[in-house]
């Protein structure tokens, strides 16, 4: 088991070392207005939405599914909340509304996949395409700016550490507890390995699949709140754009197979941190915008190659069987 997380850990450490070499002050932290301030804190705060979405994605992928609509759902959550607050609404009510609406969208995805049996990639593509339209409709094509101290806290607030990362880590802990301390994790994995066999063995596959899509949509909704609250504005076009790809990448870097079954929450955490560190690295060490994508691609390819099953076999190691520590 350990070796599966070895390469992501090494990649993360290598990126951090690269940063320290170029910018010696990279690790320096100081207290600024009662909260920690530094590059590492930025990585945690800006990585929080990706981590949260990747958590939902991990469970969906474990059931051999995929959810492409998370970015659009995130945009809708921000749009609903900001529009409600801008119209004079209570920020708590606004956030509640957004979460409720996104849960419904999750139900829709789950319905398409588990009841109608549509391929997950197609089923969620519907909402990926249509979702931004819905968000645009809600904001009427404008960037809605709000001035709400309460709402600001979600994405830009601090309790010494950024509130956003505290929320994401809390959800990570909760998911770890619920899926690893009960049989739920095993059931999710069994559905991913073989839905029919699981059903015949008495596992309620349909309910489980439905649940993970709703969970993924809720994660996306909270992430959408963080993204929009971070800049106190809802941008229906750009909020959470391509974040579904980052989330899937985080899951894959973390060693969870897209073929479903076994999943690793720790791996997803590492994957999300690698992706955000990579972005921050690009800005910090001053890589030219024209070659940013190439730089990112090289790092991602390197990490994926190092993790390839063949590479592990060459290393002469045997994969662990079960019991992934969360």
């Amino acid at each position: 088991m350990k070796n599966r997380l070895l390469w992501p850990v090494l990649a993360l450490v290598a990126l951090l070392i690269l940063n320290v070499v170029v910018t010696p002050t990279f690790f320096s932290l100081r207290l600024q207005d009662g909260h920690l301030y530094g590059s590492l804190i930025d990585i945690l705060r800006n990585g929080a939405p990706t981590l949260l979405i990747a958590l939902g994605m991990t469970l969906v992928i474990a059931t051999r599914g995929i959810d492409l609509s998370v970015g659009a759902v995130a945009a809708i959550a921000g749009a609903v909340t900001c529009t409600h607050i801008a119209a004079g609404g209570n920020p708590w009510v606004a956030m509640g509304l957004a979460l409720a609406l996104c849960a419904v969208l999750g139900l829709w995805n789950g319905f398409l996949v588990s009841v109608l049996g549509i391929q997950p990639i197609i089923a969620t593509l519907v909402l990926m395409t249509a979702g931004r339209g819905i968000a645009m409709l809600i904001t009427e094509g404008q960037i809605v700016t709000v001035d709400s101290p309460v709402y600001r806290q979600v994405g830009a607030g601090f309790l010494v550490l950024p509130i956003a990362i505290l929320i994401s880590l809390a959800v990570l802990g909760l998911v770890a507890l619920v899926t690893r301390r009960t049989a739920l994790g095993l059931l999710i994995e069994s559905v991913g390995v073989n839905p029919s066999a699981s059903r015949l063995a008495g596992v309620r596959a349909r309910t489980i699949i439905w649940t993970v899509y709703v969970f993924a949509a809720l994660c996306a909704a909270v992430a959408g709140l963080m993204i929009s609250s971070n800049v106190s504005a809802a941008d229906a076009n750009n909020a959470g754009l391509w974040i579904e790809m980052d989330a899937i990448l985080a899951v894959v870097i973390g060693g969870t197979s897209l073929a479903g079954g076994r999943y690793s929450l720790t791996g997803t955490l590492l994957g999300a941190l690698i992706i955000q560190t990579l972005t921050t690295t690009v800005y910090t060490i001053g890589i030219k915008p024209e070659i940013t994508l190439v730089f990112k691609a090289v790092v991602v390819i390197a990490v994926c190659l190092m993790q390839a099953p063949v590479r592990v076999r060459v290393g002469g190691r045997v994969r662990g069987k079960q019991g992934v520590p969360a």
Partner: protein, 327 residues
């Protein structure tokens, strides 16, 4: 059977959403409008890029309002940022035999075939806001839009005159490869060349607030001394303001901020002194477009390049202008 129903349901849903999408951006989005005829009224087919930003929405509104005011029968379509949709829209305008076609091309290339069809049908074409990349300039009558290099230059000139000892500039670029990003960078660099001012770090913020904020956060940690932020649009500048505040500095005082666009949120920040200078990029080109359209239809000569009328704003000017900002 079930699958068929689902497919149908999905199709209906998508169609409904698309309809809502274009309906939301204006009430003139009727594609099934009656065929244009020769009643002396000018019929204009306009193929818009989409509704991707507040700037674009203001652009759309301006065109719709000015068309109504000028008595032009406007057929409006929203391409949702896809070239194929725009080409389809232009073809349908050709079939409807409109008097003049205007559009903001989504991308620069790939327009020769459809523009040739328009030319053969004797329908004049006006480009707005963005140019097309074609060797055959006879395919369109004129190009109405902003001069992005000039915008960058104005920003640089102001900084030169108001530097006050500032030296180190960080730049937040627009989307890599986009014409406004390339040109605003070039104009600014040209203007500050030969002075003490230099760009010490530059990175793309993708024209978004979160992009601007993230890049600025990183700059604040990796660049030892930042005196000025030059952002290619207001939104990235607004993101940078958030990052500067979080670092315990005062935007507009400790670090000067210059942006381009002058949308309402940007003007608000300018009036509050958090941005120091904004170069306008005017989306309200409806009036100029209608005037050009009338001339083109009447067969008058028009210049091949018409630059939109736009100005610049300082904090004081922003305070007086702000109540009138519609977008």
């Amino acid at each position: 059977m079930l699958k068929k129903i689902t497919t149908a349901a999905a199709a209906v849903l998508l169609a409904a959403l698309t309809a809502c999408g274009s309906g939301g951006s204006g009430d003139a989005g009727s594609s099934g409008a009656p065929k244009a005829n020769d009643d002396g009224k000018i019929t204009m087919g306009f193929a818009q890029v989409g509704a991707e930003s507040g700037w674009r929405t203001a652009n759309t509104k301006s065109i719709q309002e000015e068309a109504a005011a000028a008595g032009v029968d406007l057929k409006f379509s929203d391409a949702q940022q896809k070239q194929e949709n725009q080409i389809k829209a232009i073809r349908s305008y050709i079939q409807q035999k409109v008097d003049v076609i205007a559009f903001s091309p989504v991308v620069e290339t790939g327009w020769d075939a459809v523009l040739l069809e328009a030319k053969r049908a004797n329908i004049p074409v006006i480009l707005t806001d963005r140019a097309v990349d074609s060797d055959d300039t006879s395919l369109y009558k004129t190009f109405l839009g902003s001069d992005f290099v000039e915008e960058g230059k104005k920003a640089g000139e102001w900084l030169k005159a108001n530097a006050g000892g500032a030296k180190n500039v960080v730049e937040l670029q627009g989307t890599t490869g986009a014409a406004p990003a390339i040109d605003r960078k070039k104009g600014f660099e040209d203007a500050i060349a030969g002075t003490d001012l230099k760009i010490v770090a530059t990175q793309t913020g993708d024209f978004t607030r979160s992009g601007g904020k993230q890049v600025m956060e990183a700059f604040l940690k990796s660049v030892p001394q930042i005196d000025v932020v030059y952002a290619h649009n207001d939104d990235m500048g607004l993101g940078a303001i958030e990052a500067i505040k979080a670092a315990g500095k005062v935007p507009g005082k400790d670090i000067k901020i210059i942006t381009v666009d002058a949308v309402k949120d940007g003007m608000t920040a300018l009036a509050a002194g958090e941005i120091n200078f904004i170069v306008e990029c005017n989306p309200l080109l409806g009036k100029q477009l209608m005037e050009l359209a009338k001339k083109v239809v009447a067969g008058e000569e028009v210049p091949p390049r018409v630059v939109t009328e736009e100005g610049t704003f300082t904090t004081e000017q922003a305070k007086t202008e702000l109540p009138n900002r519609k977008y």
